[in-house]
Each structure stands twice: as C-alpha cells, then as structure tokens.
C-alpha cells in the first residue's frame, strides 16, 4: 500500500510536525511498509474475538478521593520557557 502524499501531509498537520519535502517521500515509504506489515492481521479470524483495549489482564485500580500532592509551582515553572504572575505564557492564541 502506498501512502498518499495528501494523507501524510494531513497527518503531519494534525500532529503539528514540520516535515520537509524529501523526508515526506521517505516517511511515506516507511509508513506504507509498516501498514503493509500490520495488514497481515486482517487475514486472522477475529469476528469472535472481543476487542482488546489493553494487553494486560488487569482492571483499573481506584484511588481514594483525597488531596495528597503538594504543588511546587515555583519549581515546575522553572521548566517553562516563559511565566509571569503565576501563569505559563504562550504565543497569543485567540479564536
């Protein structure tokens, strides 16, 4: 299967990835081969198999509803490029 160029460009936009022209060619080929590989699964009989949402045979443990974490805002904000008055700053986004 070959990956349509438009399709790849759309995926790149959705993932906010800036992919150059030549990379697009190469990635298209690689992704197509991966999909072909995975496609082999389509030959397996799965109509009686429950969809697998998780590989582990475990159930989600639950946590008691209580505040147990202290927030060190100053420490966390040191990791951010820009902060002011307690806010994380980002380039202006207005819808």
């Amino acid at each position: 299967m070959t990956f349509a160029r438009v399709e790849l460009e759309r995926l790149a936009t959705l993932a906010s990835l800036d992919i150059g022209r030549e990379d697009l060619e190469r990635l298209g080929g690689e992704l197509s081969r991966i999909l072909d590989f995975v496609r082999q699964l389509e030959t397996a009989a799965t109509h009686e198999t429950e969809p697998l949402t998780h590989p582990l045979e475990l159930n989600q443990p639950l946590r008691f509803d209580a505040v147990a974490e202290t927030v060190d805002r100053e420490r966390y904000q040191r990791d951010a490029p820009r902060t002011e008055s307690g806010y994380y700053l980002v380039p202006r986004v207005i819808e």
């Binding site: 759309r10 936009t13 959705l14 906010s16 949402t53 998780h54 582990l56 475990l58 159930n59 989600q60 443990p61 639950l62 946590r63 008691f64 509803d65 209580a66 505040v67 147990a68 974490e69 927030v71 805002r73 966390y76 904000q77 820009r82 002011e84 008055s85 307690g86 806010y87 994380y88 700053l89 980002v90 380039p91 202006r92 986004v93 207005i94 819808e95």
Partner: protein, 480 residues
C-alpha cells in the same frame, strides 16, 4: 413552509470531588493560577494517571438516577488535539465504551405536560486548563488549575423541539445533579456548562438536517437566546435557498447572535484510541449495588409518592419535587398538621415560589418557614382569616413580621366572625339602604354582592365571608 427544530444538548457537569480525576491535587475553584496544577495535570513525562473512585461513584449515581445502563466495563480513550491549555496534547475521555448509556429525564414543560427526554450517554473525562488573553501583551496566559478536574459529559438525544424545551430539560438536569449532590451546578464558575446542537427540518421530514453546534453556553438565558437565534437563522438560510454548513458557532450575548468559530476543519479529527496508561474500568455488582442503596429518593419516585400520599395532580407533584429542598419544605409544612394538602400545595407553588422569584431567593433562604406557613393556613381553616386577609398576613410574615398569630395581633386583623357584632353591622347597612334591601328580598339575587361589599367596607374587610353570607341569607328568609 413550516419548520421543526431539532435540538440536542451536551452538558459538562463538574463532579463534586476533592481531588482531580487522575491526580491528587485539589479541585477548589478560585485558587492562585497554577497552584493546583501538579505533575500529572501538567503532563510531565513518566507520570501515571490513577482514577479517582469518587468520580466513578458520582458517574454511576447519575446513571442509576436516570435509569441508564451502567457500563460494567468502560474504557478511557485519548482525544488528540493541540491547544495550549491541554498540556499532554490529548484529553483523557471515554469514547466507544462510556460508563453510562441510555436512560432519560422526565421534563416538566410550561404547558404542564411531562416529556421524556432521552439521554444517549454520559462519560467521564478530564477538564482542560484556562487561557487568559487580556492580561499580557502579545501573549496568552495559561492557568492549569482546572486541568484534570473530573467532568461528566451528559449527551441528550435530539429529542428537544424548541429553545424553551431545551431550557426546561437543562433546568431539570441541573436540579437532578444538585439533588444527587454530584455537582454544585454553579454556572458562573463553569461547573455546569452546555453546548447545543441545533438543526431545523420541514415538518414531516424524518431525516435530520445538517446541524451546527453552539459552544460554551453558561446561563439558562443564553441557552434559550442562542438556540432561538440559531433556529431563526437556519430557517432564513433554508428559505433563501442556502445551505447550512456543519460548524461550531459561538454565542455573542451582547449582540445576541451566533457566529462561526474560525477553526481548521482538520482540528476535528481527534484520532481517539484507548489510553494505554489506564486499564479498563471494571465495575462489580457489589460496587453498583452499594451506590444504589445510598441513592436519595429520586424526583420521579418522590413525585409518585406525592401523588399517592397527598392526592396531588401530576403537575403539582412535579413542581413540588423539582428540588429536594422545596419538597422538604412542603412535607415539613404538612407534617403533623391537619391541613388540606391541595391548599398547602397552592400556597407553596403560589405565594412562596412567587415571593422567591420576586426576591431572587432560593428555597433554602425562604423568609417564611414551612411551619409558620402551616400556622397561617391553620388560621384560614379555623375562620380567623379570610383567604384575602391571609395573603396580607403572608406578605407581612415574608418581610419579617413573625408568625401568623403575631402579625394578626399586631395588625388587629382578626376576621370578624362573631355573629352578634356582624349582625349589628348588617342591620346598620340594611337601614341605610332600605330600597335595595326590599328589592333583594323580592328576588333580585344580584344585590347580595352589593350588601356583602357594603358590610366588608364597614368592617375594613374583616368580616368572615362565610358567616356574612349565611347571615344575609337568614335575614332575607327569617323563617327558614
């Protein structure tokens, strides 16, 4: 052409937990920016979300209350999109296996009828943060305190047919979540938010037309205005031969119109997939039964009981059970009193609700207690007050006049129900109007009203209407 509107609502109800849905930071409203955003909320690499049991319990509580089916195995999924207030680049939500499926709400409409509105599903998800656009030049500020707050997204069937019905449903849902104490319902603080899907179709057409979605309606009034505007707009577009584009619109309350939100169409491909960080949520019967056993009496059961025990109509019973506090008020008033249940219902739904409306009060802050109202109604029952005088006393009680008896004493409002005194007044009135009296005795029944009026005037409205009527009849036919 006649048009029919088709509306479905998506409501985000913030669940009343202490801590977030997947982390143990607080959910309290109004804290300093980012002081409640921990490592999981900020989307740091290597952290693992752990589900809050209370959030699950509250979602199940809702599901049981609307007769829905509870997913014995529900799955969390990642909804992928980029926005600065969503640090992970995905929102943890539920997709094809929500915790609540089906069910419905019995909504009281303004014409007194009750309509069942179906609920498609309700699922658990985390809230995003908040962007602030007016604090910094050329930058937006991000406050992630709200990130990770547990939400129950409640999706209705497209069963609503007008803006008014949509608001009635929304109010009913609002009442229910507070009834169940799963959400504080505070719309200003964003604890209860609504998106509306609206389309119109020619009456008789079965298929749904293209719809638009109006986002973030945060008051009942805006919901009604926005939907009404959007219905009119779509009808105009159709009638002008135009085409409705499926899009997201915002409601501008100042200009009272909806307008399209400029977003790239691509942004709506959320590429949901099961979140590998979270295991399937499996609920055992025991867990669900324990929640069921703690459920309060639900509005519908309460309504049925009010009809059976107090003999009320479906309308009266529905109004009185719309909120837990109002129902309690009614029942407190009825407790231990020999009052007519219908009279109590009329007063609660009439004077009490009108007073609350007028003064913008909630039932919790009602100035006249249920016991005091029962005391007032007892004074009508024993003939001390006429219905009209009782309303006057009620007004005085409302503004701090104390109990009915205190007001009656203070205003010397006691109804004149002493036969001798009243007969004296009647004689005076007859003496002053001999011609009319003769006509009345000769059969002009209409003049009864005239004499009642004269006596009422002479007694400043305090004559007992019942006794007065009886005495006038007796004077007219002394032998009977």
């Amino acid at each position: 052409m006649k048009w029919e509107s088709v509306i479905g609502l998506e409501v985000h109800a913030q669940l009343a937990t202490e801590s977030k849905i997947f982390s143990s930071t607080p959910t309290r409203y109004g804290a300093e920016p980012n002081t409640q955003a921990g490592l999981i909320d900020l989307g740091y690499p290597g952290v693992l979300p752990v589900l809050n049991q209370k959030a699950v319990e509250l979602a199940v509580t809702f599901g049981l209350a609307i007769d829905a089916s509870i997913g014995r195995r529900s799955v969390f999924a990642r909804k992928n999109y980029f926005y600065p207030d969503l640090p992970k680049g995905y929102q943890i939500s539920q997709y094809d296996r929500p915790i609540v499926t089906g069910g419905g709400l019995d909504v009281l409409l303004s014409d007194g009828s009750v309509k069942r509105i179906g609920i498609t599903r309700a699922h658990l998800e985390e809230d995003a943060g908040k962007s602030v656009h007016d604090l910094f030049p050329d930058s937006s500020g991000i406050d992630l305190n709200r990130a990770g707050t547990p939400l129950l997204e409640i999706v209705s069937e497209p069963d609503l047919r007008s803006a008014e019905e949509a608001v009635a449903y929304l109010k009913c849902l609002h009442t229910l979540v507070r009834y169940l104490e799963i959400c504080d319902g505070n719309m200003q603080e964003g604890s209860f938010r609504c998106d509306a899907n609206v389309s119109v179709r020619p009456i008789g057409q079965h298929d749904l037309s293209t719809r638009t979605e109006i986002k973030n309606l945060n008051s009942f009034r805006f919901v009604e205005q926005a939907i009404a505007f959007e219905i009119d707009r779509q009808i105009r577009v159709h009638e002008d031969g135009g085409i409705i584009v499926q899009e997201t619109r915002l409601y501008d309350a100042n200009r009272r119109e909806t307008r399209p939100l400029r977003t790239k169409e691509d942004a709506h491909d959320y590429r949901y997939f099961p979140d590998p960080d979270l295991l399937p949520l499996v609920l055992e019967e025991r867990f669900i039964e324990a929640i069921a056993s703690r459920l309060p009496e639900l509005p519908r059961a309460k309504r049925d009981r009010f009809m059976a025990v107090y003999g009320l109509s479906v309308y009266d019973a529905t109004v009185l059970t719309q909120s837990r506090a109002l129902a309690e008020y009614y029942e407190t008033g009825m407790k231990g009193s020999a009052l007519d249940s219908k009279i109590m219902a009329n007063w609660v739904m009439g004077e009490v609700l009108a007073g609350l409306n007028r003064d913008h009060l909630e039932i919790e802050a009602v100035p006249v207690s249920a016991t005091d109202l029962a005391g007032l109604l007892a004074r009508i029952g024993d003939g001390t007050l006429s219905g009209k005088m009782a309303k006057e006393v009620f007004e005085a009680m409302w503004t701090g006049g104390g109990t009915a008896d205190a007001v009656i004493d203070a205003k010397s409002l006691r109804q004149l129900s002493d036969t001798d005194t009243l007969e004296g007044v009647i004689d005076t009135v007859i003496a002053a109007h001999p011609e009319q009296w003769a006509e009345y005795c000769a059969g002009r029944d209409k003049l009864l009203g005239f004499f009642v009026g004269q006596v009422m005037q002479a007694t400043r409205g305090q004559a007992s209407p019942k006794l007065l009527n009886a005495l006038l009849q007796k004077k007219r036919h002394p032998e009977s």
